[in-house]
Symmetry: C2
Subunit: 127 residues, 2 copies
C-alpha cells in the first residue's frame, strides 16, 4: 500500500522540527535503512549510517528554529522549501533551502538532496 | 568552464517566461540535445525531442502568466518554485510548482523534474 500524502507531509514536518530542535537519533528515525543524503547537491553522497550520523551530528548542538514554507508532493517524492534559523548569541544565520526527498511505503525517507549555496545564508541581528 | 549562477538564473527566468508566453520553439531552445523531462515526477520520462515538443505543445495555446518565486542553486543543478496562472475567461487556474533542473556548461537544461499534484492547482475568479 502506498504512503499517503498526509504521511509524507508529516515526515517532512517532523524532519524540519528534528533538524532544528531534535537529536541525531530523532532525525535518523525518519530515514529508511540504506537511505542516501546529498547536501548540498554536487557534494559527495553520504550512503552509510555512520556518514549520515556524522552529518547531522554537526547541527545537533546548534540552537535553531525551523519552519516548512512550501511542500509539493509528486508520487512517492516531494520537494519542499524550508527556513532554518541558527541562533548565535547576537546574530542569527537565516538559511532557506529546497530539499527533495523520496519515501518508502511507510513514508520513511529513502533519499534526500538539498539545493542551496552560500548565497542562501544570511547573517542578521538576532530577533 | 562551468556555467555561472547568473547564467543558470537567466535560463530559469527565460524558461518560466517561455512556458507562460512563448512558443514550443522558445522553450526547446533552452534545452540541451538529449535532455529529459519528468512532469510530474512519477510519470514516464520524456526522452525524445518529439515527446518533449508534444508535452509543451499542450501549454503553447494557453493564455498564461508566469512568475519565478524562489531559486536555489547547487552546483550545476537548481530547484525553483514558480507560479503559473492560466487565464480561462472568467476563471484563472493558479498552479505553484517546484521544478528541479540540471544544466550543461552553457546553462542549457539537461534534465527537468516537476514536483506538483492536483492539490497544487486552484481555480479562482479571474483577476
Amino acid at each position: 500500500m502506498a504512503q499517503t500524502r498526509e504521511a509524507i507531509r508529516a515526515t517532512i514536518e517532523s524532519y524540519v522540527r528534528a533538524v532544528a530542535k531534535g537529536t541525531v537519533d530523532d532525525i535518523l528515525a525518519l530515514y529508511a535503512p540504506g537511505a542516501t543524503v546529498e547536501d548540498p547537491v554536487g557534494t559527495p553522497v553520504r550512503t552509510t549510517d555512520a556518514e549520515i550520523r556524522e552529518f547531522y551530528g554537526m547541527v545537533e548542538p546548534l540552537t535553531q528554529t525551523g519552519e516548512v514554507l512550501t511542500v509539493k508532493i509528486a508520487g512517492n517524492s516531494a520537494a519542499f522549501l524550508f527556513r532554518l534559523v541558527t541562533h548565535l548569541g547576537e546574530q542569527d544565520i537565516v538559511m532557506e533551502v529546497v530539499d527533495v526527498m523520496t519515501f518508502d511505503e511507510d513514508a520513511r525517507i529513502t533519499g534526500m538532496k538539498a539545493y542551496w549555496s552560500e548565497e542562501d545564508m544570511q547573517t542578521v541581528p538576532s530577533s
